[in-house]
């Protein structure tokens, strides 16, 4: 597997090529996404190359507009690219049909968003059930909620839960299908620090226990310490890669 050119020119703390895992599940080559805004073409992603290994915990850092969310959305089968290639195992993520992408999301991906996106008319248990109803290898909703420490709040509606609890329900919903990939976009963005730590612990626990490949977007550089690898994005490119020799437990994080 040839090393990505982008990474070799990055001012990495570690050489990019060395961090390239050999058992990559995600392989991204020359990924470009651009929008036309009137006369000018805006690049969200420019010719990006990336490999992510099975079970790896990756944090994406970068300012607004650096392309983190676009990358995450393409990896999650939610967005299309202008050119280039992206695969999850043998699933094509660029140029795939809507139906193929839906199946990919349904069978392999769990999402966690900044604003939880729970269904207000469903209880915690039912929000998780939403996923277990359609997934192939699902755990029981109760089990998923237990993993995020919400065994006592099964029959509460979102409006009856705190922000942190709601986000943990969202995590339970994301992991209940035992996904191969867990994608989190600013999961703690709307939470205070102690609550944020609880939520990150939940993500950490499930990713470890289930061996899930996890990608987390954040503005908060403290969170980067949890990761195996930290990708700094800027202007649609990976500007810098940090490899943590050891992942710090979420409970030790403070901001």
């Amino acid at each position: 597997m040839p090393p990505a050119s982008d990474l070799s020119i990055s001012t990495g703390v570690a050489p990019a090529g060395a961090a390239m895992p050999s058992d990559a599940v995600f392989t991204v080559r020359g990924l470009t996404k651009s929008y036309r805004m009137g006369e000018t073409e805006i690049f969200a992603l420019r010719d990006l190359d990336l490999d992510i290994a099975r079970g790896e915990f990756v944090v994406l850092l970068g300012p607004s507009g650096s392309g983190k969310s676009t990358l995450l959305n393409i990896l999650g089968g939610l967005d299309s690219a202008t050119s280039g290639d992206a695969h999850w195992r043998d699933h094509r993520l660029v140029g795939a049909s809507q139906a193929e992408l839906t199946r990919y999301r349904r069978e392999h991906v769990g999402f966690v968003f900044q604003f939880y996106n729970l269904i207000p008319s469903l209880t915690a248990r039912e929000n998780v059930q939403l996923v277990t109803d359609i997934a192939v290898t699902a755990m029981a909703p109760e089990e998923a909620l237990a993993m995020v420490g919400l065994s006592e709040r099964l029959d509460h509606f979102p409006a009856q839960l705190s922000g942190g609890e709601q986000q943990r329900v969202a995590i339970a919903r994301a992991i209940a299908k035992q996904p191969d990939v867990l994608l989190c976009d600013e999961p703690t963005g709307a939470l205070d620090a102690p609550t944020g730590v609880t939520v990150l612990s939940a993500i950490e626990t499930v990713s470890r226990r289930l061996g899930t490949t996890t990608i987390v977007i954040t503005h908060n550089s403290v969170i980067a310490a949890m990761a195996d690898r930290v990708l700094h994005l800027a202007g649609g490119r990976i500007a810098r890669v940090e490899v943590n020799p050891a992942r710090r437990p979420a409970t030790e994080l403070q901001w």
Binding site: S69, N73, G76, L78, D79, Q98, A99, T102, R103, R105, R106, E107, V109, G110, F111, F113, F115, Y116, N117, L118, I119, P120, S121, L122, T123, R125, E126, N127, V128, Q129, L130, V131, D133, I134, A135, A140, P141, E142, D155, F157, P158, A159, R173, A174, K177, D185, A190
Partner: protein, 787 residues
Amino acid sequence: MVSALVTKLGRDLWAMRGQTLTIALVIASGIAVFVASLSAYHSLVASQADYYVVSRFADVFASSRRAPLALGERIRAIEGVAEADLRVVEDAVIELPGDPLPRTGRLIGLPPDGRPTLNRLHLLSGRAVEPGARDEALVSAGFAEANRIRPGAIVRARLSGRLAAYTVVGVAVSPEYVYAAAPGDPLPDDRRFGVLWVDGESLATAYDMDGAFDDVAIALAPGASARAVMDELDRLLARYGGLVSYDRSRQTSHQFLSDEIVQQGTMATTIPPIFLLVAAFLLNGVIGRLIGTQREQIAVLKALGYGDREITRHYVGFVVAVVGLGIGLGLGLGLLFGELMMASYRPFFRFPSLDYTLRPWVPLVAASIALGAGLAATAGALRAVFRLEPAAAMRPPAPPAYRHFLFAHGSNARVSAAWMMVLREASARPFRSALTLFGVAVSVPLVVMSLFWGDAIDLMIDVQFAAVERGDAVVTFVEPAPTRAVRAVARLPGVLLAEPLRAEPAVLRTDRDDYRTAVVGLPAESTLRRLLDADLRPVAVPAEGLVLSSRLAERLHLRVGDAVEVEILRDRRPVERVTVTGLVDDLIGLSAYMSETALARMMRDSGRAGAVSVRLDPRAEGAFQAGVLASPRIASLGIKSLAVENFRRSTGAVVTMVASVFALFAVSIAFGVVYNNVRIALQEKSRELATLRIIGFTRLEVARLLFASSAIELAVGIPLGLVLGYHWVRILVLAFETEMFRIPPIVAPASYLWSALAVAAAGFVSMAIVGRRLARLDMIGVLKERD
């Protein structure tokens, strides 16, 4: 410079063009039906009133057997008589060259100058009859049109046995025959019945009426009492075989025309306001909900410093634009459809001109109701937003209190979480579901009511022409004839069965009231003409006593067992008190029936028949018609199949046209309601639906969830609507009952089915359109929005 709010208004209208258009469609449908029906009705009323004045339509009519012209002096001297027109009027079989079908003609003698002073003729083509031209005739417009008779054509009439040939010199309309139905026929048949105006003197000679008259039309002086004039007239004519005189209300054409106008009026004042009110109600709901979805924008405007008044003005502008579009569209369609309705009346109502009249209040009322409903909804929705602090309004509304369902509580849930969403949503906002459900439910009866008219016509034909009149033809004699004449008809070629029909003009009197009708004598074993009760079961003709149409009994406040005074207006005018022994449910006309023998006993003759009902061998119809033409005593021939065909072609065509257009508008209303509800639901739920798509629900699964509540609302609303339709029709027919017609409130199963299908289709089309939007759902975008 255009203010930002005005720009927003324009952009919002454009962005919501689907909703704007469908809301406009709902209100346009209501207005169109309202405007069209009322304007058509007003046009008929105005045409009738104008024409009666211009043509000097007479006020009082009477006929006698043979009265001397000298009596005219005394008639004109009656107090209250302004003018009297004495004339000879006779019915005769007429034939057109080269056409074997015998037709009925009413021959009316013209005064020497060819221009009657009352019931003036209006020439549509040709010229008037030259004074003294014995072989010239004017023919009535309908007859001329139906039989393609133009000036120069020849029409032959069998005048009292002698065949006379007339050259048609002109085509005319008369206020006496605006609605031209043959004697005894409930409906006009222009092909088979026509009026011929011919030289009066020669007509009199043909019927041995020299120096005499048998018919008089009278114009009353202003303020004169018709009753007093008629009484005096009856007294003068009694010696000359006079029948009881009558005013316009019993004049056939006027009676039918007025009934028809009343029905049009009922139609215009019952169904269209329902359309309009339903549309207004739905408009109210849809606009209220639409403004609800703008709540955050309103809050932002307030936060920016806009006052309630400016914001209100903005939304009033929005609603006025939407409703205004609907009003414009509705008025346009209404005028178009109104003209169309008028055009469809033209073959029925032979006015010199049938002009389209739109009274200004009609569009004004329609527009006001529409605008009022829209603005009331706006005010309500805005008030709800204004009550909130801007900061509170900027947050999305707190979710309603969702309930746990017992059946799905805990881990052993039987219902999938996705369907639980649908159930919770529906149960948490019962009012919203109820409103849509109601919208669906009330659009169904609009279709049912529209389709019902076709059913009513079918049923009337079935009952009248299959169950009641079971013969194939009715032969009417020039004068009531003895029973041997019936036997003569029975011997005509092709006749399988012949039964006498005797109808004597009569007055039924009670202490309070009287009614002029015909007493029909039927054979005890009558098979060709049957009496039916309300459940369409045959009622035997009793040997003694009188059987009445139930509406006649109602009118005279009579019940079975009561006695009523019957005066037969013929010969020696026998008067007897007769007991009412039964009631029948005639759909058409108010009649009294007796056994043939009881009537003969009352008349002290051995039985006579005015007409004969016959059953024919279908293979010998031609021979039968030729036989009728050759019989001097026969005045007219009614052929059932032609009458039915004519009825379907004329009334049926109009009703079908009006009903289809009504149904179309009803379906538009259903479409507008369902579309807007689904569209707003999509807007409200887009975030949840996007979440479902992201976590792996397919487009189809998401669509099913979005449309589930609409489908349930349709599934519950449509049956409810059918029940409503059943009851609305029952109420409706009560309003439509006239003296001449009773409409049975029976809706055919097919009409229910079509109504349900039409509304369901409108719903599914709405869903399909919104479904395409669902495909373009921006999954990422909605997730960037905060909760």
